[in-house]
Symmetry: C2
Subunit: 351 residues, 2 copies
């Protein structure tokens, strides 16, 4: 296995930490357009699969039956930050289904958004299942289970037909039989399949351009494109690289992150899919690497890069508010990196 | 630069993430006893330097003049977790000096200990300077500055004679002139020197066995050994690998961590120093790697390993409380790894 040095973390100009990883750009036929590092080894795509897992919510007719709106479909694809807007929409969605928080199989956690978490604690409350970044995905599974008249209390188990259907859909996109590969359990209790990074890139490209899939599956994917593009804040949240990429590019780049350093981006207009894994699982490095690849592919205009510069190379602030370093793409892997001049709008990370 | 695969993070038995790094074991003369990966490249030792930075607090006579007790000296060497016991001792120490929190140059933060942070937020309070993991180190610097009649308002600047003295002391231990190497700014505002990992190992070995240093410096170091050994909870906190290693081994292993994946251990009885850097800066990997090296060196009895098993290979719990994976030393770099049978006392990490 070989890994590429993708991202460096500096302190006063000297490199302090290094993030290695692998990345691949595929087209919808599964051809490798470009790659860095080992793309044959297995990765757990984790939440990067969520938009693909939402396909059956639409394809089954559940979404239409329950009249899910764009925000709810975007939330079904989300790793949301647990902001008030996300909490409210999960709660109202469950309520419309006649269900409660107790039906969600994910565990109780504090919102990932620090401000929301602190506000909650200051008001004497604790984390709950709705705050879990996966609660929208779980609401989606419950919606499909209700529509297909499947049991609700074990919908997260791999033996449940909903999860078997999910593995079939993912296998269709990745063009391999995922049931032949190791499967773990995700942070929210659902099955966590594995696949080579190459197949994740291929699946992401087919999500971008589902021309080789069945018509019903392709239509479901186009519906999800529309929902995510119309409601980008529901797939992640304010200030997140995923929501801002989707919003700034008006759906030309549909990004998604996964735990342990995974990021993907579907480029519908170009029929490309990007998949990357930061070897060490770091989240601070994955967005920097993803933006570097998008820039390398010419997928972002200068105006878009200016709007996204918060994520291109964040600066590190210390506890006294002084800039002490930065997180940047390594110069070694993308010789054609076409950085813009960064200004005071760079994202500030406390460390 | 080459790095060794030190630690793996698994999910249902399949490796999900990998942490590379470098490590060295030195004796007090600077001989390399054993090493893994590149040990010549520069690292920022960060808080791993704190016990060495506390030397001048003792050597200057400040500690004796202000009658610092073992707990205060241990706290001067600490990255404390901000538990109530740490907050109280920093506050009473400053009060005895006639100073207040406002004299600390570090910025306001929440305690690193989650329970303490949540308790604080639930009571309507915010983070403050005393909660900073470095506030004990800063109290130590203020004590020395008072004793030497140096200015208090800029003690954290590299130009201040206290910081110049610190660099001299560190250079003495590391056996290189740190002023010739890059220096950044730390999270708490103090200078953050760099050195090759090899020199950090050497400095740690000389801290373990200061036989080649001046008598006054050696006596100061022995005083710090005693203080840390007598008050292990003040150098980090409950449940931490540093406090538990120091406590369980009764001072035979004096460990210290540094931000961005650094860990050191001084073994006074064997005159050895260990220094390691997780390349990506991960904190979850550094303690697992350190324990593996200590075991490899035969520095821990089976009884001690049983007591420390929480840190040898933590298990990962998901939000529903199920064990979904583990963090373990890679099998490739320590063929003689002599693991004990782990039981239900393994540390549980939420992820």
């Amino acid at each position: 296995m070989s890994y590429e040095l993708l991202v460096e973390v500096t302190r006063n100009g000297t490199v302090e930490s290094r993030h290695f990883g692998s990345a691949v750009v595929c087209d919808a036929r599964g051809n490798v357009v470009e790659s860095w590092g080992d793309i044959e080894s297995l990765v757990f795509p984790r939440s990067a699969l969520k938009p693909m897992l939402a396909i059956q919510l639409v394809e089954s007719g559940a979404s239409a039956h329950y009249a899910l709106n764009d925000a709810e479909l975007s939330l079904a694809c989300s790793s949301h930050q647990g902001e008030q807007m996300h909490q409210d929409l999960v709660a109202s969605w469950l309520n419309r289904l006649g269900l409660t928080e107790e039906h969600l199989a994910c565990g109780p956690v504090l919102p990932e958004d620090t401000e929301s978490a602190h506000k909650l604690l200051a008001s004497g409350q604790q984390g709950c299942r709705i705050h879990h970044n996966c609660s929208g995905k779980h609401a989606g599974f419950l919606t499909t289970a209700l529509h297909l008249d499947l049991s609700l209390d074990d919908y997260h188990h791999i033996e449940h037909s909903l999860q078997q259907l999910s593995l079939d859909t993912l296998s269709d996109l990745a063009d391999i039989d995922l049931k032949q590969y190791p499967i773990g359990i995700d942070g929210c209790g659902l099955p966590a399949p594995t696949m080579p990074l190459l197949q994740l890139g291929h699946a992401t490209a087919r999500f971008a351009s589902p021309v080789d899939l069945s018509d019903s599956r392709a239509q479901a994917i186009y519906r999800l494109h529309e929902a995510i593009t119309n409601e980008p804040l529901y797939i992640a949240g304010h200030g997140s690289v995923v929501s801002e990429l989707n919003e700034v590019t008006k759906g030309a780049v549909l990004a998604k992150t996964g735990a342990e350093g995974v990021a993907t981006a579907a480029l519908p207009g170009r029929g490309l899919g990007i998949a990357l894994k930061i070897t060490d699982g770091s989240s601070r490095a994955r967005s920097v690497a993803l933006l570097a690849i998008l820039d390398h592919l010419g997928a972002l205009s200068d105006e878009e890069k200016h709007q996204l510069q918060a994520h291109i190379s964040p600066v590190i602030l210390n506890s006294t508010g002084i800039v002490v370093g930065e997180i940047r793409p390594a110069a070694s892997w993308l010789p054609r990196f076409n950085g813009i001049a960064l200004n005071e709008n760079r994202r500030k990370v406390k460390a």
